[in-house]
C-alpha cells in the first residue's frame, strides 16, 4: 500500500490486554515527531465489550492534552481538515490475550519447529506443537486439541513430493478432535495447511467441510529450505478475517483504518527487522510485559521471534520463581533476604499485579526477578532461533574445528550490534542505568554491543505505521522512541580478581581521551555525550577476547548514550557470581556503587 501524497498527522493506537495506548504524530519543520500520547483501559470485556470504546477514550485524552479535535462523535475524523482530524489512522492489537495458535508438523524438530517459527514470526502465541513423534498417543493429541481451543491451527508436514500418508494422518486427528474456536461457536475454526502439496486433495477432503481451510505453499518445501512467508501472510489474513472480526468491536475498528490491524508482536517484529536491515547489524529486541516476554532477533539476516507465554513481571511473576528457582533470583539481591519472605513477596505481587515497588529494597527485588525472566526468555529464544535441523551437510575440516552442526543457534553474542529493551520494568525504571544493567546481566552480551530502550513502548504503533509510511515511522522511532543508553564492552575469558583484563580508550569530542585500564571483576562506566559518534579502542589482555582473537585489540565506532560506556570485566564463558553470600553481596554492592545504580546502598 502506498502512502498518501502528504501526510500531516498520524494517529496510531495499540489495544493491549489491559491498556489501550494512543500516540499522535505530526509533521513539523524537523520531520515527523511524536507530539502527544494518551491511554485508557482496554474495553474488550464486560460491561463494554467493544474495543472502540477504549480507543476513543485514549484518543480523547490526546484531544484534551493537545486542545485539538480528532473525533466526530464515535468516529475518527480523517483526513485532516485545518486543525481538526488526522490524515492517517493505524492500529495494532493484542487484546483478548493476543492470537493463540496450535501448530503441527510430522517431526517435532523439523516441520514442527518450522511451523512454530512461522506462527511466532506472525505474532502468535504458540499454545502447543503437535507432531507424530511428540510422544503422545493419538487420543491424547485429540484431547489436547479440544482442551486448548486455539484461535487458529497451522498444519504442516512433509517436504513437497515426500510423505503424504502421515500428513493425512495428522489431518485425520485434527478432524476427529473437531476443535472449537475460543471466541465462540458461531464460526468455523481457521486452519492453514502449509505442508506437502501432494497431500492437498486428501487434506481438503478431510478438513474442508469442518473448518475454514486455507491452503498455502509448503513452509518446508525441501529439508534444506524454509519458506515461511506464505504461512505468515495467511496467518495475518485469517487473523483479520476470522479472529479479529469476532472479537468485540473489531469490525467497527477495522472500518476506521484503511491499514489492516496487526497483532502487536508482529508489528514490533517488523520494526526490529527494519533496524537490522537499515544498519546492517545483528539486533536483539525484548519486550517484557506482565504476562509474557517476547524476544526478537535478527542474525545473519534471519528474523526470529519467540514468546515466553508465562514469563512476566506481574501475572506470571510467580512462574519466573518456579522456573528460575529461588537461588537464581537471590543471587542478584545485594542484601540478606529470608527465603520465606521473598516467596511471599513474589506471590503477593502475582495476586495483586498492578502494584508498584514503594521501597528501594522492593525495587531491587523486582529488578532481580526481571533479570531471571529475561535470561530464561533469551534461553528459550536461543533454542528456537536455529538453523534448519535434519540436514545432511558435508563437513569440512573447518566445521570440525568450529564444532558447527545443523540446527545450531543463530544467536551469536559476539556479532550482536544492538540490544533493545522494552516493557514496564525496563522502560519505566527510575534510572536508565538500571535498565542497562538488567539487560547486561540477563543477556551477557560479548565484545562490544550497543544498548537502547523504548521510551514509552510505542514500537507496536511504529511497526504497523512502517508498512504504510516508513519515513514517519523511522523518524519518530529515532527521535522519540529509541533512547540510546550507550554501549557495553565485555571481554570473553576469566582470571583472578584484580588482574588486568582490558584497556579502553575513547576519542572524540567531549570525552576524556586517556586510556582506562580495567581489572578482572570490575564493572565501570565511562561517561559519553548523549548524541554523536566516538571512536573506541579496546585492548584485551592475553587470554581475553573481544571478537578479534585473544589479546587482539579492536577499534570501532560507537554512539553516545545517556548511561555511557559500560566496561564489564566480570568475565564471560563462564560468567560467575561468588558462591558465598557475603562475598556475593560485597561484589554486587561494589558494582552498584560503581555505576550509581541506586540512590543509596541497599
Amino acid at each position: 500500500m502506498s502512502a498518501p501524497p502528504l501526510v500531516r498527522s498520524i494517529l496510531a493506537t495499540d489495544c493491549g490486554s489491559t491498556t489501550t495506548k494512543a500516540i499522535l504524530i505530526e509533521r513539523g519543520e524537523s520531520g515527523y515527531r511524536l507530539v502527544s500520547r494518551g491511554e485508557a483501559p482496554t474495553t474488550v470485556e464486560a460491561p463494554f465489550e467493544d474495543v472502540t470504546r477504549g480507543v476513543l477514550n485514549a484518543v480523547r485524552e490526546i484531544e484534551e492534552l493537545r486542545g485539538r479535535r480528532m473525533l466526530d462523535g464515535d468516529r475518527i475524523l480523517t483526513p485532516q481538515n485545518g486543525d481538526e482530524g488526522v490524515d492517517l489512522y493505524v492500529s495494532t492489537s493484542s487484546a483478548g490475550g493476543g492470537l493463540q495458535m496450535m501448530v503441527s508438523g510430522l517431526v517435532l524438530q523439523m516441520t514442527g519447529e518450522s511451523a512454530q517459527r512461522a506462527a511466532l514470526g506472525a505474532g502468535a502465541i504458540v499454545m502447543d506443537v503437535i507432531a507424530l513423534n511428540d510422544g503422545r498417543r493419538p487420543h491424547e493429541k485429540i484431547q489436547r486439541l479440544r482442551q486448548l481451543r486455539p484461535d487458529m491451527i497451522l498444519l504442516s508436514g512433509g517436504t513437497d513430493g515426500g510423505d503424504t500418508l502421515r500428513v493425512v494422518e495428522m489431518a485425520e486427528i485434527l478432524a476427529a478432535a473437531d476443535p472449537k474456536a475460543r471466541l465462540g461457536a458461531g464460526y468455523e475454526l481457521p486452519v492453514i495447511f502449509a505442508g506437502n502439496q501432494a497431500a492437498v486433495p486428501m487434506v481438503r477432503e478431510c478438513l474442508e467441510k469442518r473448518t475454514a481451510l486455507l491452503v498455502v505453499p509448503n513452509l518446508r518445501p525441501t529439508l534444506e529450505r524454509e519458506n515461511l512467508r506464505p504461512a505468515r501472510d495467511a496467518i495475518h489474513e485469517l487473523f483479520m478475517e476470522h479472529v479479529m472480526a469476532h472479537a468485540p468491536g473489531y469490525k467497527k475498528l477495522m472500518t476506521w483504518s484503511r491499514v489492516p490491524i496487526m497483532p502487536t508482536p508482529g508489528a514490533v517484529g517488523l520494526i526490529i527487522e527494519k533496524i537490522a536491515k537499515r544498519d546492517s547489524i545483528a539486533v536483539v529486541g525484548v519486550d517484557i510485559g506482565g504476562a509474557t516476554t517476547d524476544v526478537f532477533s535478527v542474525f545473519q539476516e534471519v528474523f526470529n521471534r519467540t514468546v515466553s507465554a508465562n514469563l512476566g513481571m506481574s501475572y506470571s511473576v510467580s512462574n519466573v520463581l518456579a522456573e528460575a528457582g529461588i537461588e537464581n533470583i537471590l543471587r542478584w539481591v545485594p542484601f540478606d533476604v529470608d527465603e520465606v519472605e521473598l516467596r511471599n513477596r513474589i506471590k503477593n505481587k502475582m495476586i495483586r499485579p498492578t502494584t508498584i515497588p514503594h521501597t528501594l529494597e522492593d525495587l531491587v527485588i523486582e529488578q532481580a526477578i526481571s533479570r531471571e525472566a529475561l535470561r530464561l526468555a533469551f534461553e528459550q529464544h536461543k533454542q528456537l532461533a536455529t538453523g534448519l535441523k535434519g540436514i545432511q551437510t558435508e563437513r569440512t575440516i573447518s566445521d570440525i574445528v568450529n564444532q558447527s552442526e545443523s540446527g545450531a543457534s543463530l544467536v551469536d553474542l559476539l556479532q550482536l550490534g544492538l540490544l533493545v529493551g522494552s516493557g514496564g520494568v525496563l522502560s519505566h525504571a527510575p534510572r536508565r542505568v538500571q535498565s542497562a544493567l538488567m539487560m547486561v546481566d540477563a543477556f551477557l552480551p560479548e565484545g562490544v554491543t550497543e544498548l537502547a530502550v523504548d521510551s514509552i513502548f510505542m514500537a507496536p504503533q511504529l511497526g504497523v505505521l512502517s508498512t504504510v509510511h516508513e519515513e514517519a515511522a523511522t523518524q519518530v522511532f529515532e527521535a522519540d522512541c529509541l533512547i540510546r543508553l550507550g554501549s557495553v564492552v565485555a571481554p570473553i575469558g576469566a582470571a583472578r580478581e584484580g588482574q588486568p583484563c582490558v584497556t579502553v580508550q575513547l576519542t572524540g569530542p567531549g570525552v576524556d581521551a586517556s586510556p582506562r585500564r580495567v581489572a578482572f571483576g570490575e564493572l565501570v562506566v565511562l561517561p559519553l555525550p548523549a548524541d554523536g559518534k566516538l571512536r573506541l579502542t579496546a585492548t584485551p589482555e592475553k587470554g581475553f577476547d573481544l571478537g578479534a582473537g585473544k589479546g587482539r585489540p579492536i577499534e570501532t565506532e560507537i554512539r553516545g548514550g545517556v548511561v555511557g560506556l559500560i566496561v564489564d570485566a566480570r568475565g564471560r564463558r563462564p560468567f560467575q557470581l561468588p558462591s558465598t553470600t557475603a562475598e556475593r553481596i560485597r561484589r554486587l554492592r561494589a558494582w552498584n556503587a560503581a555505576l550509581s545504580v541506586y540512590p543509596r546502598e541497599v
Partner: protein
C-alpha cells in the same frame, strides 16, 4: 494521566448475586425458573463424549488401507464391548484370519480408507451440575444450565485453592490477629467452613484434612507451605481444580497478615449458617477471585451502598504492598502532582490515616484497594 482505580474485594453483609451453572456440553436442565434450590440440588445433567482412540486396522490386519472399511465386523456407529471383534481379514486361501478386538467398551466412529485408521470412541461420562448456592432459579438456559439468584452475606478472598464446597461457618481462632493452630481443630469441625485469624501452617491444614473440614478461611499463608500442599511451585494463578480434600481461602495474601476486622466480623455474625465456598482463582484478563456466600433469602434489609468508581477523601482503603502491607485506613489527601518514592519512582500518591494508630503515610495510589463501606 489515565483514570485508574483498584476496585478492591467485596466484603458485604448484603449482596444480590447471580451464579451461572452451566454444563460443559448441551444436556438436560432438571429444574424450572422460580424453583427453590439447595446447594446440593442437581440442576443439570449430561453425558460427556468418551475419549477417542485410534486403531491402526491396516497395520493390525496387514491390509491395504483402501480395503479396511470393508473389513469392519460391525457397521460404523455400532456400540461394542471390550474384547468384541471389530474387524477381521481373511489370510491366505481364507485360512489364517486375523482379528482385531475392541480396546474397551465404545462405539465405532469412523474409518479412513487413506490411512487405514479407525476412530474408536469410549463410552460417555455422566456429568452433573449442582446449584452450589441456596437460592431460586432465575433463568433457565435451555439445554445448557441455569442462573441461580441468591442474596446474603458475600466475601471475596484474594487467593484460593480447591473447588466448590459448603458447610456451616465455625469461628475457630480467638480473633483476627490470632493464628489458626492445629490444636484448635476438633472432630466437630468436620464438614464445616472453619475461620482462622492471621495465619495457618501446612501442619494445621493437614490436621484439617484429616478431620474432613470442608474449607479453611484465613488472613495469610506461606508460599513455602503452598508449594508443599500442591507438590509443586504454583507458576500461574489459575486454581480451583485441585483435589486437596478441602478448600483454602486467603482473605489478605501471603505471609502472616491479620484478617481485616470487617471480614472477621462479617463471618462471626453468621456462625452456624450454611456457607457456599469456592477457591477458584484466576489472575489474568477477566480476573476471578475466591468467594464465600452465606445465603439469607428474603431475610435481608436494604442492600448496602455500592462503591464509588474512584478514590475520594475519607474512602476506606487497605494497603496491598510493603512497607504498609495489610494496614487499613482512610484517604486523608489526594495530591494531584507526582511524588518521588523511596524506590526513586515518580508516581501519583495519596495520604492515608491508618485506623489502628492514627498515624499518616504517603502511599502510591497503585498500592491500595478500596474497601466497601
Amino acid at each position: 494521566m489515565a483514570h485508574s482505580y483498584t476496585p478492591g474485594l467485596r466484603v458485604t453483609s448484603h449482596a444480590e448475586l447471580i451464579r451461572e451453572r452451566r454444563l460443559p456440553l448441551k444436556g438436560d436442565v432438571l429444574v424450572q425458573a422460580g424453583d427453590a434450590v439447595e446447594a446440593r440440588t442437581v440442576v443439570a445433567r449430561t453425558d460427556l463424549p468418551g475419549n477417542v482412540q485410534t486403531v491402526n486396522l491396516a497395520a493390525k490386519l496387514s491390509l491395504d488401507p483402501a480395503k479396511v472399511p470393508s473389513a469392519l465386523a460391525r457397521p460404523l456407529g455400532s456400540a461394542v464391548r471390550k474384547g468384541e471383534i471389530i474387524a477381521e481379514a481373511k489370510g491366505l486361501f481364507g485360512l489364517m484370519s486375523q482379528k482385531v478386538e475392541a480396546p474397551s467398551d465404545g462405539t465405532l466412529e469412523s474409518v479412513s480408507s487413506i490411512t487405514g485408521q479407525l476412530i474408536f470412541r469410549e463410552p460417555p461420562l455422566p456429568i452433573e451440575v449442582e446449584a452450589y448456592v441456596r437460592g431460586v432459579v432465575d433463568e433457565v438456559l435451555p439445554g445448557e444450565g441455569v442462573r441461580i439468584r441468591t442474596e446474603g452475606a458475600f466475601l471475596q478472598g484474594i487467593f484460593g485453592v480447591g473447588g466448590e464446597t459448603h458447610g456451616p461457618v465455625a469461628m475457630v481462632s480467638s480473633g483476627p490477629e490470632a493464628e489458626l493452630t492445629a490444636d484448635l481443630l476438633r472432630p466437630e469441625h468436620r464438614d464445616h467452613v472453619v475461620v482462622g485469624g492471621c495465619y495457618v501452617s501446612h501442619a494445621t491444614l493437614m490436621r484439617a484434612r484429616d478431620l474432613r473440614v470442608a474449607a479453611v478461611v484465613v488472613g495469610g499463608f506461606d508460599d513455602r507451605d503452598l508449594r508443599q500442599l500442591l507438590g509443586r511451585d504454583l507458576g500461574v494463578a489459575i486454581t480451583g481444580s485441585e483435589t486437596l480434600g478441602f478448600t483454602l481461602i486467603l482473605t489478605e495474601g501471603f505471609g502472616r497478615i491479620a484478617m481485616a476486622a470487617r471480614s472477621w466480623n462479617l463471618l462471626a455474625a453468621h456462625v452456624g449458617e450454611l456457607a457456599s465456598v469456592s477457591g477458584a482463582t484466576q489472575i489474568r484478563a477477566g480476573v476471578m477471585r475466591p468467594e464465600i456466600i452465606i445465603p439469607r433469602i428474603g431475610e435481608m434489609s436494604a442492600p448496602a451502598a455500592e462503591m464509588g468508581s474512584g478514590f475520594e477523601l475519607g474512602a476506606h482503603i487497605r494497603v496491598i504492598r510493603a512497607p504498609y502491607f495489610g494496614r487499613i485506613g482512610a484517604v486523608s489527601a489526594l495530591p494531584p502532582e507526582l511524588h518521588d518514592l523511596d524506590s526513586g519512582t515518580r508516581v501519583r500518591v495519596m495520604h492515608v490515616r491508618f485506623t489502628d494508630d492514627g498515624s499518616e503515610a504517603l502511599v502510591p495510589r497503585a498500592n491500595v484497594e478500596l474497601i466497601e463501606r
